[in-house]
Symmetry: C2
Subunit: 394 residues, 2 copies
């Protein structure tokens, strides 16, 4: 049925990206006075907080440069990506080479956090801009930020732990974001040396986060992959695990449809679809307990935008790589649910925060966490995967 509807799906994703999602953010978020982007937006695009989240400055810069590199060389996209990079360079770095988490409208630092995701998302922005422009400064910044990310996530103690030595823990986020960051570096800097990092992080996920006893991708484990039978250790984040699955699917594709990588990705997707898909209301839950016990985090059963985005990409990759109709069916299920509840037909883009049953919890379009990243990345990836499937049919 995916095959029969392929032109319809391509239209939804391609036109949605180019005519709805990207124009919404260009219309509302460019700060021509102070630089950078304002992403804290009400339903209609009105700015409700002038603060600027650093994750999202890097992420939109990456999206714009990637559209320029991979869709069409529009000057508008390149110029806005450079506009984002200028603000990041000028205002988002601390003097120690680390980056801030939040700055204000004019670029004063407001908050710095322990972890290094501002660095990872600016890294991929600079890498994509290097590809677009050939400017050596972007390459240098990208390499430096990759090194900060790699060092902080591999050397114990560089990121101050939240818990004491009596409860050592590590999270899926580090190897998972590591994989996609290294993939972007390899592609845009044309540097195969990043493959070794990808190998290492995939191996870490396989060894320490895939739990065959519970048939689950763990979110938090002990330093050697130990199961921690506490709230934090049992709490699964299906959206994260499924996002990790499609990073591995992409790697499988890059490596001539490597069967072992496909197997790892489908294992992760199969387990976490079973755990994460809400069989009563549809959509992917935010958190689940690996033993089916209550989750301590309050919003555990809400439907956020990004786990749905990641699942659409993952099901399409799984179908492409395996030909298994199960994945085409899963794609159809989540596509149907998502497009029923998330898009805002009046003002454009998506709501981000739905209750379990699809009712809207908050109408805001952007904040420190939600902005032009998971949604446009999904539209772009889904469109491109479907184009590939279409070519293979012919």
């Amino acid at each position: 049925m995916l095959i029969n509807d392929i032109e319809k799906y391509i239209t939804v994703y391609r036109d949605g990206l180019l005519d709805d999602i990207i124009p919404f953010w260009i219309r509302h978020s460019i700060d021509n006075e102070h630089g950078g982007f304002s992403f804290c937006l009400d339903r209609d695009g009105t700015i409700i907080d002038t603060d600027k989240g650093v994750w999202m400055q890097g992420r939109f810069t990456w999206i714009l440069a990637t559209l320029y590199n991979e869709v069409e060389q529009r000057d508008e996209w390149l110029n806005m990506a450079i506009h984002g990079a200028d603000f990041i360079k000028k205002h988002c770095f601390d003097t120690d080479g680390r980056m801030y988490f939040l700055v204000d409208q004019v670029g004063n630092p407001i908050r710095k956090r322990r972890y290094v995701f501002s660095e990872a998302f600016s890294c991929i922005a600079f890498a994509a801009l290097y590809k677009a422009t050939g400017e050596k400064e972007y390459e240098k910044l990208a390499r430096e930020l990759f090194n900060v990310y790699e060092r902080h996530t591999s050397q114990e103690g560089l990121i101050p732990p939240k818990f004491t030595e009596h409860r050592k823990m590590k999270g899926m986020g580090h190897p998972m974001i590591g994989i996609v960051t290294a993939q972007e570096m390899r592609k845009n800097l044309n540097d195969e040396s990043y493959t070794s990092y990808i190998d290492r992080w995939i191996e870490e996920i396989r060894e320490d986060f895939l739990n065959y006893e519970y048939q689950a991708v763990m979110e938090t484990v002990g330093p050697g992959g130990e199961f921690l039978d506490h709230f934090d250790g049992r709490t699964l984040t299906p959206g994260h695990a499924i996002e990790g699955a499609w990073f591995i699917f992409e790697e499988a594709h890059i490596r001539n449809e490597d069967p072992e990588l496909i197997e790892t990705g489908t294992t992760m997707l199969d387990w976490m679809w079973e755990i994460g898909w809400d069989k009563e209301y549809g959509g992917i839950y935010y958190f689940r307990d690996v033993k089916g016990l209550p989750v301590q985090e309050y919003w555990h059963d809400m439907k956020f935008w990004w786990p749905q985005n990641e699942t659409i990409i993952a099901t399409l990759w799984a179908y492409t790589l395996t030909g298994d109709e199960k994945y085409a069916n899963w794609h159809e299920m989540i596509h149907h649910w998502v497009f029923k509840y998330f898009p805002d037909p009046e003002f454009g883009e998506w709501y981000g925060y739905l209750h379990r049953d699809g009712r809207i919890s908050s109408k805001m379009k952007g904040n420190v966490w939600k902005g032009p990243f998971h949604v446009p990345r999904m539209y772009l990836k889904a469109w491109r995967i479907l184009e590939r499937i279409k070519l293979n049919i012919k």
Copy 2:
């Protein structure tokens, strides 16, 4: 109508406290093997996490000692309070005089946080145990912890700020918890010197947190009470503000129904009932934006147990002190809503986490945040306030 139903209400609160709430926790949470209490409980009281939150070790110890001091001198209550205090003394202090936030089953420290609420809740536990036993060690510990709390909440920089110097902020929690902590010290140590702290903290709330322009009790302001027009500065926590209102009502009562204190308390309650009461579904919201804009915190429209507990106490105090039937009506509204949705008739105690419309989000009875504190304190306070009203009728 409250007057007509007063015996019915007294029965609900008194018998609920003594026959349901306290027995539930005694039945399930005493750790006779390792000491202290295990509060992370599933619906039926099964332990789902053996970790021990330090806030709640102090809070249950306080509840037990307070029942002994103010309800009935049952040895069982006193012995269990001492059991709690022993664990706190032995396992919950760091070497710097500060306390941990979370320890494991046997008492190893798992997490320490920036702020000093473990200290405030252990302070009131030791103060109540001093009253119960006359043991000087408890008095000494209570005084030391009060000093830690007072010093850390008044000297800038002792609690490391989350944000930079470009966004200095302070929260309602500090003066609010300060007031009730000093009230407990004054009562149980019979030491009037604590009144000066209460005066200072009430003045800080009046000056810096009561916003007459928006008719709201702010949760977070600048160091001099400045309105911060960002997500954090606009986010209100009605349950917190209403809890602060009843601490001030108690102070008004202690000071011979002081009219200015009553006025401050009713102002806070009136504003935050208007903002916090859900006119569509009933119950008190978790967060609201002071301008009616979207709130960034995900669980903003959920109905947690504790804001309802605090509102029941506050409406009863307001009715007692003013005789205004409006408050008796509000009490009836929230009492009716709360007793329809929160109590678990099968296994006892309350659910803690409901969706906006009263549907259950999580069936767990306890975790690091929920335990025997707000619920039994409400039953005890409500019962005692109603007894006072009954005496005045006669």
